[in-house]
Symmetry: C2
Subunit: 205 residues, 2 copies
């Protein structure tokens, strides 16, 4: 019964990861040890170490979960986008989903992940790889829009990808820091109106 | 001679703050104590405590320095802006200056400040107050553009301010995390072309 076995594995991994996220949110990466995660998970040390051999592996798994899911949702929500504004609408929709339910605990770890990346080279590589995947996707969307003629060829797709990513990162950061001060609908409407809608409005360069 | 006395005070405060920034960058807010900062500063405990009575006061001073200087530069660089694109150009210029010289050490603490704000209510209030000042400034610039007729009245100035802030926050974050992968000139050119240049190109709402 490989299906049941896979489900069981995923469930146990989630149980450990969710426990780690709660510990990291409470005490931070540095003050948290594997013993804290084991205690919080309610599993045996043997089970936990079977899935994650170190704190760095747990942090890597959290980054993959957080940025990987954002990437996956971005692919889904921006598939048919024809203009930068539509890509950003899709990307913000993907970001907003990260703030619901159990995912919120992961989203709240985002600034801590960035902080850790500036001090821990292994975490930095992992974070960079995740963002490069997202940037590559935005880059390809931009090139497609240019091929289809809905976006000016003069724009550097790499720059466009970075600015699009900013619209998402800034939204997530401000939502975390300013909470109810940031209304997602207001932000989405402004972003949608402010960004280029395509060749109809050639920028005044 | 009040002038000399003021200079001396500022110089000593800077000496303590710079030492604190080095300690925080190395060991993080939590692992760093006042004793570490005193040792790093080369001053006596009495001198240090005269300026900053606690670690929280040091963190607050760093936030004021970091976001206050960004705000000050933003005011200078966006004074004559007539369109969202010009405001963002000015804001990115202000952000880029934060990455030069001694200021870079402060900029590198930004993710740690965000992280701390999610766990320490006193830091959260300080960070929120600083960002509200910046957002208010961007809000007023937006209202002015709408009064002057260079920006569509339909746009919610609050939403516009948040999206403009994102362009800056995302730039700073990506510059910190991705380093040479992010070319400031490419980003600035893309942002400048992607954002509305005013009433000439009414957005397709």
């Amino acid at each position: 019964m490989p299906k049941v076995s896979d489900d069981y594995l995923t469930e146990r991994q989630d149980q450990v990861l969710d426990a780690a996220v709660r510990c990291f949110a409470e005490g931070g990466f540095h003050a948290t040890g594997m013993a804290d995660v084991i205690r919080e998970s309610g599993l045996s040390a043997g089970s936990v170490y079977r899935y994650y051999r170190s704190k760095d592996e747990l942090i890597a798994a959290i980054i993959t979960r957080l940025l990987g899911q954002l990437h996956g949702r971005l692919i889904g929500m921006s598939a048919g986008a024809r203009t930068p504004a539509e890509v950003i609408e899709g990307a913000l929709g993907a970001a907003l989903e990260t703030f619901s339910g159990e995912q919120l605990n992961y989203a709240r770890l985002l600034p801590q992940v960035w902080t850790e990346a500036l001090r821990n080279p292994a975490v930095a590589l992992h974070v960079q790889a995740s963002y490069r995947q997202i940037l590559d996707h935005l880059y390809q969307l931009t090139e497609r829009m240019q091929r289809q003629g809905t976006l000016d060829d003069d724009l550097d797709p790499r720059g466009v990808a970075h600015v699009m990513l900013s619209a998402v990162q800034g939204f997530m950061l401000q939502k975390l820091l300013l909470r109810q001060d940031l209304d997602p609908a207001t932000y989405l409407a402004a972003a949608s109106q402010m960004f280029l809608h395509g060749e109809g409005e050639t920028p005044l360069t």
